[in-house]
Subunit: 500 residues, 2 copies
Amino acid sequence: MSDKLTQLKEVLAEVADLQSAASVLGWDQQTYMPAGGSAARGQQLATVTKIAHQKATSQDVGALLNDLRTQYAGADPGTDDAALVRVASRDYDKAVRVPPDFVAEHAVVTTKAFEAWAEARSKADFAIFRPHLERVVELTKRYVSFFPPADHPYDILLDDYEPGMKTAEVQAIFRMLRPRQVELVKLIASRPPLNDKFLRRKYAEEKIWAFSGEVTRLFGYDWSRGRMDRAPHPFETSFSVNDVRITNRFEPEGPLLTLFSAMHEAGHAMYEQGVNAAFERTALAHGTSLAIHESQSRMWENIVGRSLAFWEYLYPRLKKTFGSQLDGIGLKAFHRAINKVQPSLIRVNADEATYNLHIMLRLELEIGMVEGAIAIRDLPEIWNTKMEEYLGVKPPNDAQGVLQDIHWSYGSIGYFSTYALGNLISAQLWEKINKDIGDLESQLRAGKFESLLDWLRKNIHRHGRKYDSQDLIQRLTGSKITPEPYIRYLSQKYSEIYGL
Amino acid sequence: MSDKLTQLKEVLAEVADLQSAASVLGWDQQTYMPAGGSAARGQQLATVTKIAHQKATSQDVGALLNDLRTQYAGADPGTDDAALVRVASRDYDKAVRVPPDFVAEHAVVTTKAFEAWAEARSKADFAIFRPHLERVVELTKRYVSFFPPADHPYDILLDDYEPGMKTAEVQAIFRMLRPRQVELVKLIASRPPLNDKFLRRKYAEEKIWAFSGEVTRLFGYDWSRGRMDRAPHPFETSFSVNDVRITNRFEPEGPLLTLFSAMHEAGHAMYEQGVNAAFERTALAHGTSLAIHESQSRMWENIVGRSLAFWEYLYPRLKKTFGSQLDGIGLKAFHRAINKVQPSLIRVNADEATYNLHIMLRLELEIGMVEGAIAIRDLPEIWNTKMEEYLGVKPPNDAQGVLQDIHWSYGSIGYFSTYALGNLISAQLWEKINKDIGDLESQLRAGKFESLLDWLRKNIHRHGRKYDSQDLIQRLTGSKITPEPYIRYLSQKYSEIYGL
């Protein structure tokens, strides 16, 4: 290893340690921190992330990367070291473009915008949030201006969550997907509704919590390198490849959601636990993009976790735990219930058939805001119109409409489409995995997940950030991200469930 | 406020944030971290503490302090700003004396020494630990050599835990204390032993845990700015004045120890919660010394928590929670049992009458090691001889003798005497508090602690590190730390309990 590379790795290791420390502070903030600790925690997080940013953007790092880029210019781009230089350079080039003053201003604006959003949502009054969102969008445009012109200004934003992905690519994918998915939803809506009332009976919190933990263990989430704690929202966070935690919650009005959230977060966590340990504390550590991450979580939650094959294994065990709640409910009825399609107002509660439509709507609005084609004051109306067009439902107020998501309040514009891309990728990978593992379905039926997890580890997890998402999917499936497999997956699944 | 002072405060605030971040990492390590996270956590802690140290010892800080010392040379030393300059200067002067290479070597040596100690203790074989302790003592002497000569080399070590305290002062105090305490223990040993078997009955863990939490709340520990978690050892840790946490454990063979540990740690925590909020993120934040800290924990645990007055209030409540376990046991019998004196081998289990004797033995050995008067190979024998002399018990092996404490393995030489000084200070303060609050005992009898906590807040807690321990005690009681009040306290307490 070159001396310069060793030096770079030493600095980046410290940056990674500081980022991990910040992640621990953030995890504690969401799980155990007493209410009083909030203000000091904000200061601690600001200091730790500021120092991490200073170190990551120092002139020393810039000079090392300059030399290393020259040195690795002719090297095999497939080696880990070449990938490290490439990814670290990209991180550096992006980070140095954003002036510290802007970062500070952004923090102030979004802190206020978050408070205004929370108030606006609780009062279902968009007017409260509107001036703040206008400033957020202004800042977003300013952020875009720090970078060289792209094909589309939104490319700059997308790139933060999905490196290398272009707006035009996502739009092309969604253009193919939307009519097919709208059509499917309409077809399902013409069938008699399914009964899922028994899913909302009273299930004991401690039992469903323990059951959920056991299912993640069965999948292959390594509890000697992880844990599950209570938090207001389920999430996954990683402090090293050997300390990858998930959080979860219990909602009495939807008690089994705890189980599906656990599967989802364990999907993220197994990805992080599977990254090559040699990448620890380098720019190649962690998952490569939000869409690939989401493909893992959605695969375990939906393709595996809501499949009939797996529930042939799991349902007798669930019935043993909750005999009376599921009395008289057969496997098929249960499986149909957990896959019920119901166009609804709220994205986070959406089923697999409707979820992507919520995302497409958001992407269109975000692009419109960034282009300036959509004025912020018109957002609620446009939102409601599109909801009716795509999903056939109309929000009774803005709390259940344009105000429902937190993302814009903290300046996160460019994020949403990765959720839908993750869904598509999960199905695209699933077709390939089924070619490679012939008896996968019978393995699910037996509660066996070693082959599946091995495949994911070998083909996706271990690579960390070595390959960008499109390259990775191309390598594995022979084509870039495409909606066809997901449409096939949905069509087949709902044909069986709804007898289409 | 001068510009230079503002600048200094800005840097120290970042140092404080990093130290708090390290404390969160440490707390998590002891409470929730999965086993796999250990190695990465070590790296994260090393990086965060290294950067904190670099910032705290930077030339900029040195120059600012130089200027500020000149500026505040003639100022009223009683102002907060003057105290800040004084304490920050002392911290800086100590920190810059220790070369980073030494810190790194010390970390390596003590990591190995800790492992060897754990193995040696589990095998009751001092020979395994001996070469490591020899290196630790060598390093300790080297550490002393970085500082200007003191009256005694041990002064340098003591000063890290008890700023300003001299070895000769501690020796003088202990010389007065030891014969009186040995005499008392002998007198008690001549009395018939007390029955405390019912303390080791089966008490439900969750109930004693909840009861312990309630008692800390009753004392005044603010749970909106704190919490109690399970850890291998009870401790208190503070991330800000508004986030001060304690840990606790449950041991089936001594179930009520959880209650007394909670009182002890809450005593530490109330101190930290009471520091002037204006001192946050400055050198004046946190408690002023380990002895003052221990005076708070021991006061709440022992003087309050094992008093007959308080148990008049608490015992009916404990009996309501644990009716069958305490069946037929009256208040007096219970009170005698929780105050039973029994010379024993292990410091952490020692009662109030014997505890300080364990400490004196350790201080004598530490001074001997640092002076070179005691060879490490002779430690076990000297230990055993002194145990017989002071306590009348002889360790059957080194695990229950010289190997019992963790401190030396991580290089903590100079720490022990603060435990005993804390006991003495608690009684010295208690006499003063009883003069100021005439009806304190009847307040305890009614479970009222507002006046007591107010007194401690006003006279001790809020000052943070503004006054060193001897100055603080002198200001409050009219004399420096003295053993007389503690001897009076013990004599009176045990006269009543043992009918001496």
